[in-house]
Symmetry: C2
Subunit: 245 residues, 2 copies
């Protein structure tokens, strides 16, 4: 599905509205932004251009899961971040990396709007600007934590950190432990952690043989000993503050 520029609506006409400046939760930010952009479904694997028609662009993830990726060379791909529902992606805050794209890791819905249209809206609704700032701050924290993960942690520490991240965002408490629907398939997970897929597999096997986790099929894991997992990540505290629902 290729969406043309015409679908990038501009801001609604400014009929003398004095909308109350109430503090909105991220629950309704979607409703507001939907009025300024266009909302559409994405298939798993679908790519969304970071800058649509060469215009600074914002995506809001409504549902599903979206990743930011870049191809350095034919061999080297990397995943820079994972965006969960309710989160905003702004091309302005992205570096000019080679072949940078936004890709849906799971089917879902997104809202796309032009950054300049958003800016206009944010100038009128102060809380929108604040919410945008808050989200960029959270993302900055995550990118920084991720920086530490991929630069200085051992393979096992990286995997532990990833499981903590995923558990904090997606985990469900069960009697047996914390059930995590893994956000990424193996290859993506490896590119996210700057590890070889084989190495990742080995580490997961080791954690499994130590009884820390159990894997259920391809895309699920159960963490039996959350505290032990926390022990294995030197930046556990940073993850807890940067990843919370």
């Amino acid at each position: 599905m290729q969406l043309g520029a015409s679908e990038m609506r501009s801001a609604p006409a400014e009929h003398g509205d004095a909308e109350p400046e109430t503090r909105a939760t991220s629950a309704d930010i979607g409703e507001i932004l939907a009025a300024y952009g266009c909302r559409f479904r994405v298939r798993r694997g679908q790519r969304l251009p970071a800058r649509h028609d060469d215009v600074e662009t914002i995506y809001l993830v409504r549902s599903g899961l979206v990743v930011l990726q870049s191809h350095l060379t034919e061999q080297r791909r990397l995943i820079l971040g994972i965006c969960y529902p309710g989160e905003i992606i702004s091309s302005r805050f992205m570096a000019a990396l080679p072949d940078f794209t936004v890709r849906a890791a799971r089917a879902g819905e997104v809202t796309r709007l032009r950054q300049d249209v958003f800016d206009t809206a944010a100038a009128r609704h102060g809380w929108l600007a604040l919410e945008f700032m808050r989200q960029m701050r959270v993302r900055a924290n995550r990118v920084e934590a991720h920086n530490v993960i991929v630069s200085r942690l051992t393979s096992e520490e990286r995997v532990a950190s990833f499981l903590l991240e995923a558990g904090l965002m997606l985990g469900k408490h069960l009697a047996r432990g914390i059930d995590i629907e893994l956000p990424l398939p193996r290859n993506d997970m490896a590119d996210y952690l700057a590890l070889n897929p084989d190495t990742l597999s080995r580490v997961l096997s080791r954690l499994r043989s130590e009884g820390l986790i159990t894997r259920l099929g391809r895309g699920r894991a159960i963490v039996h000993d959350w505290a032990a997992l926390e022990q294995r990540s030197p930046i556990c505290a940073a993850l807890q503050s940067a990843y919370q629902r």
Copy 2:
């Protein structure tokens, strides 16, 4: 020099001032912020607490050079970023990493102010908020580029990228090439690039033996072939857009 909380002034009294909302350059942002915080000199190596008295804090680098660092363990230190004169550091945009501190890499001057005081000022002066946002955007771009450097580039590509960064920010054109006053000593450079100091030394020696660079004493390098250096960094474009004077 330990500065007490009393030196963190609050905002100036609000005498009915209607300061013109002119677009200010980063040259005068220092003058404005100085009115809200306190300005002081820092020695080389001096540490500034990221959160002063447990209050969200902003630093403005007036001169010198400042780095953001974290000690993961006794053995593993890492440098997350380098801040050049005119730049703002906000603890809000920093992850809760173990032993995170702001450290002066070169003697200079900084202005410190409370984030809440800044926020009040920014609410009154729109351009201040915009300038803050712009700086956080630039930093986000740099952190993302740095992410790629330390996660996926080879040691030689990392060093080339670092020389590009430093050259773009600090380089002086000479007849023989581009003269760079290296912002960091060897150990810091290594921790910034997530390399072992010995490995870094080896790479620099190789670049020197290939005639790409010459080293002048400890802290200076001359890049003879800038184009060749660009060729060695897969993210040259991202660096050029994220690092410009």
